[in-house]
Symmetry: C2
Subunit: 402 residues, 2 copies
């Protein structure tokens, strides 16, 4: 659709009635500039946490289907309140739940994937000149049951809608000004990045830069949806994420530190074909996302397999690993919460050997031991001791003159 | 469906987590007795009021469609929490929103009428042995928009489901023990009625006995659904409402006092054919339910028309009446909030002239002026001064030896 902008406001942007009024004004301003506007909203402030708390006060293991139905009310409340605010300011508006918006997902509660969006209703409301407010984070499966999309859900809703409606831009409003060359809370010198490619932001995002969930970026990249990440509290331009970024000969785009990971090692795994596959397919079945993997032959015919996962999946991953170790007769399973992943990201990283050597040299100068290394087209990551992470990040930012 | 019981629990019965657990136990007990169980639940405690307050803090006139979407979250929260509680106690259960339950309503937000119920999903879940928890008070219209049913909504949902599924009984759990011969807070001698007919309870209900909304009773009567009104806090049997009531030669079933009414008079309306119709059709268009009507010729060719409405519709009714008065050149509109309706109800009321004469005589003995009179097959009602209402009710209860 021509002149269509999809905006997404997170929970902190609609945390109370006053903030909802401010967001309403902002939306109307965009509408008045001649754009069609679809707005995706999260639940107000801590609503989701409070609903989860209520459910867990009743049961240690609330049924996922019911918990999803419960959680979806959080967004339903914020979309109706926002619609009421916009209408009160004199603009035509309609709110749509995930179901009403035709967001059809997989069956997996808590972590549903968007399979398709039936845009008839959306397009019909937009063609009547209405501002459309959509509940983020939710959809329905083929059985008409409410599902939620899990982490990064509302961002994903926004990008998916922008893709389905061929929007010219998807704006993600958040509580920071955009994407920085490093976390400004740790590195005060960090600079706002004005433009960045999907691949680069993807690496930064999956490396712990929290502004946008990797899932949403991937989707945006696949459908070439330009995204702007900007603050909902200021009028400043943020960071534009798109396919082609002006070639400014930027080698390094940013430095990131992910402290939210844990490391698991399965020691002395018998060296048989397909044995690593068995471990990682068991992890995939349990919906555990494995990040870095290192496999090295220890002695004759046994391997050590080491991998990292997000901290909140560590417990489940340990269980899977232990079951695997028992089945294949591996010696033992070790895990470590005291690690971080330090990464340098940029299109010049791999092309330029100097980047890698400077990266390793800097860690060496600080006397920091590198536990694991992983590289891609545009990043180098190392697993290091968590206690030294922030220090290493600051020093690295300086070294690369960012 | 054979052996099916529909239970309805009001907001005070599910007011907190502990109460939800108690309701869950009660439901499971019914299920274990060999019944199929469908449960209709209202929003927890004051949730609905809090949501309304939020909406009105944003706008003086929140759009009805959005307010309905907002309010419906209240029931969605209670059904998921109740389902979580039941599952935690080891029973298969599923919650259904109005939409999921196939409750299709008219378009009228706030006051939607149930047009049909598509019971496929309900029956499929029941046939799998699940306890089904349904959100009361809500449905969807043909456009897939969420509607709410207005006053008595959850009772109506329960009875409509019982009718659609041909349940053997619809139990309405509430915070009183059942239906009494008079309001026990005003008349301490009032007795619990064990059985009562639809017509009788309908008169009592429309006369201000709050246990069950007239709308739900009408629906039950039309579909011959037996209803039991009972306490959710005790194990006592309540009041059974059904078509045929044992003939016990009961003349008087109960005495009721409705303090929630207002009186409007339009004075000196020119006496032309169809002129009263014009007033009452305007009121009907504004969705105002008119109760008693008295029209008397004042002088030659002018009438006074007096009618009563529920207090919360008084303001709107006055506006309609004033517009009407202006259009037809009537002299003026008066209104009075200081009235009550005192009624005596029972199958013997009309057949036995003695009842009417005793009723009027009692009011005369108390020196209470009768402002309006209305009679039906089974009741006599008088509009009297609100200040004397409770006193008249107590005295009447004594006079009729109830």
């Amino acid at each position: 659709m021509k002149d269509l902008i999809v905006q997404k406001y997170g929970g902190s942007s609609v945390g109370d009635i006053e903030k909802i009024q401010n967001v309403a004004k902002r939306i109307i301003k965009t509408k008045k500039s001649g754009k069609n506007v679809v707005v995706v909203v999260s639940a107000m402030g801590n609503t989701t946490d409070e609903l989860i708390k209520m459910a867990y006060s009743i049961s240690d293991r609330p049924i996922e289907r019911e918990l999803d139905a419960l959680l979806s009310t959080g967004e339903q409340i914020s979309i109706s309140l926002l619609a009421i605010a916009i209408e009160n300011m004199g603009h035509e508006v309609i709110s749509l739940t995930g179901a009403q918006c035709g967001i059809i997902t997989s069956n997996k509660h808590f972590k549903a994937r968007i399979n398709e969006i039936n845009t008839q209703r959306l397009e019909s409301e937009l063609s009547q000149g209405k501002i459309v407010i959509v509940a983020g984070f939710q959809g329905i499966n083929k059985e008409n049951d409410i599902t939620t999309l899990g982490r990064g859900g509302s961002d994903t809703t926004a990008v998916a809608l922008a893709a389905a409606l061929k929007a010219e831009l998807c704006q993600i409003f958040t509580d920071v000004e955009g994407v920085y060359t490093a976390d400004p809370r740790i590195v005060p010198d960090a600079k706002l990045i004005s433009e960045i490619s999907y691949d680069e932001i993807l690496e930064l995002a999956s490396l712990g830069v929290k502004v946008l969930h990797p899932r949403a970026v991937e989707l945006a990249g696949n459908h070439k949806v330009p995204i702007e990440v900007r603050s909902s509290f200021t009028e400043n331009k943020g960071t534009l994420i798109k396919e082609e970024v002006k070639m400014e000969k930027v080698l390094i785009r940013g430095i990131s530190l992910d402290e939210n990971i844990g490391k698991i090692s399965v020691l002395e795994v018998p060296d048989k074909p397909g044995i690593a596959f068995k471990l990682f397919s068991s992890l995939a079945e349990a919906d555990i996302h494995v990040d870095m993997i290192v496999q090295n032959v220890n002695r004759q015919s046994v391997n050590d397999i080491t991998f990292t996962v997000a901290l909140d999946e560590l417990q489940d991953a340990i269980e899977v690993a232990q079951k695997f170790a028992f089945e294949v007769d591996a010696q033992k399973v070790l895990y470590d919460r005291g690690v971080s992943k330090l990464s340098v990201v940029g299109s010049g990283v791999v092309a330029n050997a100097e980047v890698a050597s400077k990266f390793f040299e800097t860690l060496f100068q600080l006397g920091i031991n590198i536990q694991m290394i992983s590289t891609s087209e545009i990043k180098i990551s190392c697993i290091i001791d968590k206690d030294r992470g922030k220090e290493a990040m600051k020093f690295m930012h300086q070294k690369f003159n960012m």
